[in-house]
Symmetry: D2
């Protein structure tokens, strides 16, 4: 017999842009929000009984209404407000998960009300509310970075399918995803995000890299060491390859100057580092 063993539903890709109008100095916050419920919802699946189904369209409306009721101070704060709102009203819902992806906008020079889009990078926040607890994960996605010195890869395991030459000088590029959790309440999510992002970039830039794994750990460790409130950080770092072009057939050397970036294949390196 077929039985329902897991279910969840909600709304995804709710796009919101909030303009804060403090006189002539405006601020812009753009987000994409996802809300997912778990709970006592099985009858909607097994019998088409919708009496416990709050429409996903209502979730969308709620995102907009709550943003109007209180200006968004941080992605994490707004995610928690949404989670709390739904869980407090719907007794049959056991868990609300809110995920937010924030699109960066940067002010044009010192203009009060004009902005340029900040590119691919996203700031993220995920809050999971249950009856007994709630967790907050902060992070970033798609921060593409490249270092042109202090990166090598050698001394590795070889078998009969290994053709990669060892090198002490290569390009190291990645598109960083990071997520971190804090053990104590955070007063300033925006400031903490900026500081952790800056620390990750600094260590990436300065590290004498023996592998992506090596640099990933150095980056993660630096966050644990520097930020007492962070108790775990999870980094995903694809190795987005830049292939050195062989110009010898044309009588030319190529001392790490001319590369072909390729999107695929790529390495994929991932780890979690925690406070002991």
């Amino acid at each position: 017999m077929a039985v329902l063993t897991f279910d969840t539903y909600g709304k995804t890709r709710v796009r919101l842009l909030q303009v804060r109008r403090d006189g002539a100095r405006h601020g812009v916050t753009e987000m994409t929000v996802q809300v997912l419920f778990e709970g006592d919802l099985a009858e909607s699946y097994t019998a088409g009984d919708n009496r416990k189904i709050l429409p996903t369209d209502t979730m969308k409306n709620t995102v907009y209404a709550l943003a109007r009721r209180k200006p968004i101070a941080s992605a994490e704060g707004f995610a928690c407000d949404l989670g709390r709102h739904f869980l407090s009203r719907l007794a049959h819902v056991h868990q609300v998960k809110v995920e937010i992806s924030e699109t960066p906008w940067n002010r044009i020079a010192d203009h009060g009300s004009a902005f340029t889009h900040g590119g691919h990078e996203r700031r993220t926040a995920a809050c999971v509310f249950t009856r007994s607890a709630h967790t907050v994960v902060s992070g970033l996605r798609d921060l593409q970075i490249l270092k042109t010195a202090d990166s090598g890869f050698s001394g590795y395991l070889k078998d009969e399918y290994t053709t990669l030459p060892e090198t002490t000088d290569r390009l190291l590029g990645t598109i960083l995803d990071a997520d971190w959790t804090c053990s104590s309440p955070v007063q300033d999510f925006n400031g903490l995000h900026a500081a952790i992002r800056s620390k990750l970039l600094d260590v990436f830039a300065a590290h004498h890299s023996l592998s992506v794994q090596h640099t990933l750990f150095a980056m993660a460790r630096s966050v644990i060491d520097r930020f007492a409130e962070v108790d775990q950080i999870h980094l995903v770092m694809p190795n987005t390859h830049c292939l050195l072009i062989d110009l010898s057939k044309f009588g030319l050397d190529n001392p790490n100057q001319i590369f072909m970036p390729v999107d695929e294949p790529s390495g994929l390196i991932e780890a979690k580092v925690s406070r002991d």
Copy 2:
């Protein structure tokens, strides 16, 4: 102190196209392969010691070499061959996960060696090999489907943010992702995949839908009921909305004829159904 609490590495987006040349009647298999290792690898992260790191470039080469050694019979079979290969050779690796996404190609009429690309849909296979067990998950991604009759949504929970009108006749569109596992060895992964895909489409088309949840469960249950070897199926069905255009301002009715498809936002409905 910072400690490594999880790590994995591997190669992603390895693209492979295999041509089978049985006389003038060719066959084409296109796949994208991902290989991930877990094991005794911490020294590479914490000390830059690469002695246990098989390069991800070698993983890529291995994909191509194994495909040459034995023609690919199925995505599942090839994923298992790759997993077995790596685990049997590398004592310090505890788990190998191979994920394959297969791109469809269709023969042009009855030509022996010409094909059209099959679109967005992908067939997937994921195999996880450990020292004690291995699991195989078969599936599909991005199968976009639409039904224009027999779909309603009414009788749902309402609050002060609910504005959605109830309806007994709407469009129901989704982009189906499905994954299933089998409890007994599968003799013909290709045949089973085709049969499950066909069953999912048939039930989607024929179901008198009271909600996406309702139809999702009917589809999943039909697979459990029909295929004795399947012990669990996981479906993800976004509700990709088509908005009915209000033409009343122009003196026109619109009895479910003219819609605006929108990519975002969308509902998101997900469930697992298992054999009891």
Copy 3:
């Protein structure tokens, strides 16, 4: 002094899905429409005078209203209806260009009201209406095709940067764009589109190809030869490469069996063929 030397404006990416409900047997047409005006519009640019600017939002509404007033029989027909509508009403508009891209949907088995998305390929129609004439261009986009036999490339020009080996047996893949115009009125745009598409595929499949240029011309010529109403056809055929993997380092041959498809770089071959 700065003078306005060209201007146009309009609406792009208007998405429309029309359901035709002939009893239980439904039909689905999905399109994306773009409308562009040229005319006596300079004051809107130079002085912010909007009195001759029909809002692009009105263009969008018109697309939906006209689709309701008369079922869409063909992309070309609907494009012409839209062009005629605007030009006949707005004396200061000198040209209306309507471009339509149609998304394919295929019926699921013999179900009356359920469909699968047809993938990346699009059918296109572009109509340009002026006071003195109108032109119709029919076409298709993103028809990805591959042949695994009867394709070579040799005897080409070489210089000191040429490293490509000559071959009499390679894969030939492309993502076809085609546009054609007719010299006489077309009674059945849908039938003509299907027949030309089929002819292009047949010639691609059967041609003994000495280069992409060679096959492109054979395809184009076959349309001119077969369809008396077509007076010009324009084909764009990128050469989407599949790289033969060198397995010799692993003691393996590779007689055109194992390839790596790459998205970039690609060749780009383009030509127009006309009736003399």
Copy 4:
């Protein structure tokens, strides 16, 4: 009879990353290059005679070799070097068109050899070389910008399909494409590009906008007025809509604070402005 009336071929999406290593202070230039030939090439199409066809693979190799022979000083300069190279060697080629799209990279703080990707925006250069002349077009693509004040749209033409409310305060967003040509030789393409980009942003930010057309012309005119060497500029500005959310059903006002950004549909406004 079918005759060839236009043809061109070349290589597209050649990706190049050049690292300049001036001691510990590195520089990075990433480009995607396209090269297209026109000339006496008809026999390759009509007869499969490849004797005048320089392989597109050779074009790719040439891009890499020329980048090694001389460091890239500007996109325009490199495009011209490539055009000159091919035209001077191949007597049967009548025109070489080189198009370059440059990907921005920004230095991380003051690190010498670490960079972040600059996002969606691209700098472009297109050079067309013929036996008698060559032209250079400089530009940018995908510069996404938004202004939250000083933008209205009213006083426009209305018909029975017009439902858009007039407004004196709306968001104005666009994704700017710009191309410009110069009448006199340019000494510093990089400096000119930066100065024009900055001027476009400044005018966008400061303009009291009565329509997208109005702001587009002000931006274009400012470039003609300020930069004596520019003789024409072409701007394309989609109107990427942010929809004001109606919160009145929830007892909330919405004084231009909460919006839903939508990718489609969008307005499309385009013009060329020239020096008289």
